[in-house]
C-alpha cells in the first residue's frame, strides 16, 4: 500500500514552508542590518561577529545535532529546533523594543542559539522526506524541495521591504514577523507532521523477507558491504577521485553564496539604493534557482554536467568584478548583474550538491564523504531510512554483531 497522495503533498508542503521560514529569517536579518545600525549604533565589526557566531554554531549544529534526528521522532526534533530558533530570534528585538537594551552580546548569544536551532531544519526535513518519498521520484522531489531556500530568501526580502518601506514600521517588526511565523510553523509541525506514512509496515515486511533470503543463502553481502563502508575514514576519503576538487569548490561557492546572502542588502543600502535593498538581492535567488534548472537541462542535453561548471563560475566572477568596478549607484544594471551572478553560482552549487548525493549512493562511508563537501554529515541526513533499518536488522541478526547491538 502506498502512502496517500494527500499525506505526501501535506508533508512536502509543511517541510517546504518550514525550511523556507528559516531562510526568510536569514535574509530578513541581513535586510535589517543597516536599519539596526542606524538606530542602535552597532558597528560593522559587531555584525561580523554576529554572523560568524551564527554560522559557526550552525555548522557545529549540522555536524553534531543533525545526526541526532536519526534517534528521535523527527516531528519533535524539527519542532524543537524551530521553536528554539524562533524564540532566540525574538529575544534581541524584544529586549530592545521594551527595555532599550542594545548590548551586542545579547545579539551574539541569541543568534548563536538561533544557528543551533536552524541546524535541525535540513537534517530533520530530509529525514521526513526520505520516509515519505522513495523510489525513482525521490530525486525529483528532493530537487524541487530544494527550491524552498530560494523561495524563503525572496519571501524574507520582500516581506522585510513591505514591513519597513510600505508599512513604515521599525526593524524590530521585521524580526517579530519572521520569528512569529517560525513559531507558527513549529506549532503546525508539532501538531500535524507525520514522521513517516502510517502504512509503512509493508516496507518492514519486505525488509524482513530480504533479511531471510540473505540468511538462508548464507551470503550476507549487505553485512559485508557494511564492513567495507567502515574502511573509509576522514583522511582516506580524500584519496577518492573528485573529492578534493569538490570540497574546495563547494566550500568556496558556499562562502560566496552565504556571504552575498548576508551582506548584499546592506551593500545595496550603503550604495544609496535603500529602496531596492529587498528587490536587488532577490534577483540573486531568482538567478540561483534558474541556474540550477538551466545546468540540469544542459547537463541532460549534453550528457556532461561538469562541462558547464567552470565557465558558469567564471561568468559569475566577471559579474562580481563588473559590479565592483563598473557599476555606480543606478539600480537598474544591478538587477541584471546580480541575476547573472546568481545564475553562475546557483548552477554549479546545485550540481555539486547533486554529486554529493551521488557520493551517498556510492560504496563508501557516506557520512564522511558527503560531509566533507557539505560541511555536515549528510549521510545521516537523508539516508534512506529503509536502508538503515535493513542494515540494523542484519547487524542484529549477525552473531558477531549481536553483542555489540545489545542495549
Amino acid at each position: 500500500m502506498r502512502a496517500s497522495m494527500y499525506g505526501k503533498a501535506f508533508t512536502f508542503m509543511l517541510t517546504f514552508f518550514g525550511y523556507s521560514t528559516l531562510h526568510a529569517m536569514r535574509t530578513s536579518w541581513s535586510y535589517s542590518k543597516k536599519l539596526m545600525q542606524n538606530e542602535t549604533g552597532i558597528t560593522n565589526e559587531d555584525l561580523g561577529f554576529v554572523d560568524m557566531s551564527f554560522l559557526l554554531c550552525y555548522s557545529l549544529g549540522l555536524a553534531f545535532i543533525g545526526p541526532l534526528g536519526d534517534r528521535f521522532n523527527r516531528r519533535y526534533f524539527l519542532a524543537l529546533g524551530y521553536y528554539t530558533c524562533g524564540l532566540a530570534y525574538l529575544v534581541f528585538p524584544t529586549v530592545h523594543h521594551f527595555f532599550g537594551v542594545t548590548n551586542i552580546w545579547v545579539l551574539i548569544i541569541f543568534m548563536s542559539i538561533n544557528g543551533l536551532g536552524e541546524s535541525v531544519g535540513m537534517p530533520g526535513s530530509m529525514g521526513v522526506l526520505s520516509n515519505w518519498f522513495t523510489g525513482k521520484n525521490k530525486g525529483v522531489v528532493v530537487g524541487t524541495w530544494a527550491g524552498c531556500c530560494n523561495y524563503g530568501n525572496i519571501f524574507g526580502l520582500i516581506s522585510s521591504t513591505i514591513i519597513s518601506q510600505y508599512m513604515g514600521l521599525k526593524w524590530q517588526y521585521i524580526f517579530f514577523f519572521n520569528g512569529m511565523l517560525t513559531l507558527g510553523i513549529a506549532t503546525v509541525i508539532m501538531m500535524f507532521l507525520e514522521e513517516k506514512p502510517k502504512d509503512d509496515f509493508v516496507d518492514i515486511e519486505k525488509l524482513l523477507n530480504d533479511v531471510n533470503k540473505t540468511t538462508i543463502n548464507g551470503n550476507d553481502s549487505s553485512a559485508e558491504s557494511q564492513q567495507n563502508l567502515l574502511k573509509v575514514n576522514f583522511f582516506t576519503s580524500f584519496k577518492i577521485p573528485r573529492v578534493i576538487p569538490y570540497v574546495i569548490s563547494y566550500s568556496c561557492l558556499k562562502a560566496s553564496i552565504y556571504g552575498l546572502l548576508f551582506w548584499l542588502p546592506k551593500y545595496v543600502s550603503e550604495k544609496g539604493m535603500s529602496g531596492y535593498s529587498g528587490y536587488i538581492p532577490a534577483m540573486m535567488d531568482c538567478g540561483t534557482f534558474l541556474g540550477g534548472v538551466l545546468v540540469g537541462f544542459l547537463g541532460d542535453r549534453f550528457g556532461k554536467r561538469s562541462l558547464f561548471l567552470s565557465p558558469l563560475m567564471v561568468l559569475s566572477c566577471l559579474m562580481m568584478l563588473i559590479a565592483k568596478f563598473l557599476l555606480s549607484d543606478v539600480p537598474l544594471p544591478y538587477f541584471f548583474i546580480i541575476f547573472f551572478m546568481g545564475l553562475g553560482l546557483g548552477g554549479p552549487y546545485n550540481i555539486i550538491g547533486k554529486e554529493v548525493t551521488n557520493f551517498r549512493d556510492s560504496n563508501f562511508d557516506r557520512p564522511w564523504l558527503s560531509g566533507l563537501p557539505e560541511g555536515q554529515p549528510q549521510g545521516h541526513l537523508d539516508c534512506d531510512s529503509c536502508d538503515r533499518r535493513l542494515r540494523g536488522v542484519i547487524r542484529c541478526s549477525h552473531p558477531a554483531n549481536a553483542r555489540r547491538d545489545e542495549p
Partner: protein, 53 residues
C-alpha cells in the same frame, strides 16, 4: 576583518572565492569537454565508401 573593509570590496572578495572554486573544477570541466568531443567524433556518420567499378 571583512566587516572592517569598505562595503565596496565585498564583490572583489567573493569574486576571488568564486574564481578559486572555478579553478578547482577546471580539470573536471576540461576532461568532460574532451570526452564530449570524443563522443561527437565517434557518433559522426562515417563517409560512404566509394565503389570503384
Amino acid at each position: 576583518m571583512l566587516a572592517e573593509m569598505s562595503h565596496e570590496w565585498i564583490f572583489a572578495i567573493f569574486s576571488v572565492y568564486t574564481f578559486v572554486a572555478a579553478v578547482a573544477l577546471t580539470p573536471l570541466t576540461v576532461k568532460d569537454f574532451k570526452e564530449y568531443i570524443q563522443t561527437l567524433k565517434q557518433t559522426a556518420p562515417e563517409e560512404p565508401a566509394v565503389n570503384i567499378p
